[in-house]
């Protein structure tokens, strides 16, 4: 089977649109017959990535490659970058502003959740340039 490739654009500073890419990916994976837990895990990881893009990076893009063995995702933004990745990975650490927290975000769970729900997570980030998060979820 040829890999299925999908591409989504995440709008910046628009919380009403956040969740569109993850919703579409979820429907796509369900339609392809992937197990429910895999679909849920990928959707949650992508949603967290979308929210981070909206809060911190003014949007970004998501590239997905699907094979029967693995779902690969690249979450790419040209935001401010992450100065201290190990600190950002700690549960509860957040730099989200107050208005974002009032919407129920900014709990400092975004990146930890992405790691929790994927099998591989690599963060390429450079301050002032942007961040790309490479994710893989294997189909056991």
């Amino acid at each position: 089977m040829e890999p299925i490739k999908l591409h989504y654009v995440v709008s910046g500073n628009d919380f009403t649109c956040a969740g569109e890419a993850s919703g579409k990916i979820k429907r796509e994976l369900k339609g392809l017959g992937f197990p429910n837990d895999i679909v849920r895990n990928v959707a949650i990881a992508v949603y967290e990535g979308e929210i981070n893009m909206v809060i911190h990076a003014g949007g970004g893009v998501i590239d997905v490659e699907i094979t029967p063995e693995c779902i690969s995702l690249d979450l790419i933004d040209e935001g401010p970058g992450i100065p201290d990745v190990s600190l950002a990975m700690k549960e509860g650490f957040s730099t989200a502003p107050e208005n974002v927290r009032q919407l129920g975000f900014g709990a400092g769970m975004g990146l930890p959740n992405i790691k929790k729900y994927t099998d591989e997570m690599i963060i390429d980030t450079e301050v002032g340039v942007g961040t790309t998060i490479h994710l893989k979820v294997y189909i056991k």
Binding site: G19, K26, A43, E48, I51, G104, F105, M109, G110
Partner: protein, 109 residues
């Protein structure tokens, strides 16, 4: 138990998708307002108790496959959230009781 039976027992008011309630089974309950936390912890088919009635709450409900959202303490459901709930078959209910009160009642069912 279904959402419809729950709504009747707890005297809840529907804000969306009442027509889906008779067939939606529930299993367990989760309380929380921090959306990432809820995404991480809530389980499929849970009842979700929260005061967050914005469009992102509906997104979280869809992703986690919770059975329904109960907005406690008469927390409002935004218009765009109601629209998204209807589009995605998310059942939203409301009550004047606190999350603690509702959870305590659910634990006795």
């Amino acid at each position: 138990m279904t959402v419809k039976e729950l709504a009747k027992k707890l005297d809840l008011t529907y804000l969306s998708c009442e027509d889906k309630a008779a067939k939606r089974e529930i299993n367990g309950c989760y309380c929380g307002d921090l959306l990432s936390w809820v995404m991480s912890k809530a389980k499929e088919d849970n009842i979700w108790l929260t005061v967050m009635g914005n469009i992102n709450s509906i997104g979280v409900a869809v992703l986690t496959d919770v059975a329904c959202i109960i907005l406690t303490e008469n927390a409002p459901l935004d218009d765009n959230a109601k629209e998204k709930a209807t589009e995605n078959d998310v059942i939203v209910l409301t009550t004047s009781k606190t999350s603690y009160q509702v959870a305590a009642e659910i634990s006795k069912l």
